[in-house]
Symmetry: C2
Subunit: 101 residues, 2 copies
């Protein structure tokens, strides 16, 4: 699997709107044929810190995601709500086996 | 869900051993009743950078994990293989619903 991990620090006054916009993006991304997961997390010690765990069957699936209407809308919508540029790290999975995701 | 995200930078000469020890810990952790996931990832742009995605049903499940024989063994085994202290961030999940994990 190809896993994109994104950390986003959101301006405190925009947290509610960020969650709403991100849930819309997550729900629509889950409908993409190459998407396997899209978990949205909020840090325990900092409610302004979020983590997106995006799993695709392959790198191509992520590239396709980046061209979708819902992703482009989300990216533009939240641009001014971030307290700092978001940090993304791309990974290949080792465990579990691809068949167990 | 309660999700612990751990980033580990491993000394290049210890990557193979680190993967082996971590897979043993991941496999045994998956058998804990409160564990839901334990994904092991390797960064695309840095093969010495790893990411552990640990999902428990609740914070208590994570506390119990930290007392297990396999976790304590892993922690001791890999201690000298890290290039820098590992970074852990604890989260509460927002999406998907708990029933969909």
């Amino acid at each position: 699997m190809y896993v994109v991990c994104v950390t986003v620090f959101v301006k405190p006054e925009k947290v509610k709107e960020f969650i709403e916009a991100t849930l819309e993006n997550a729900t629509k991304t889950r409908q993409e044929p190459n998407n396997v997961r899209f978990d949205v997390l909020q840090a325990e010690e900092d409610p302004n810190r979020f983590f997106l765990y995006e799993v695709y069957k392959n790198p191509e699936g992520f590239k396709i995601h980046q061209q979708t209407k819902h992703y482009l809308k989300w990216r533009e919508t939240i641009a001014d709500w971030m307290a700092q540029p978001r940090q993304g790290v791309r990974h290949n999975s080792i465990f579990p086996e691809d068949s167990d995701w």
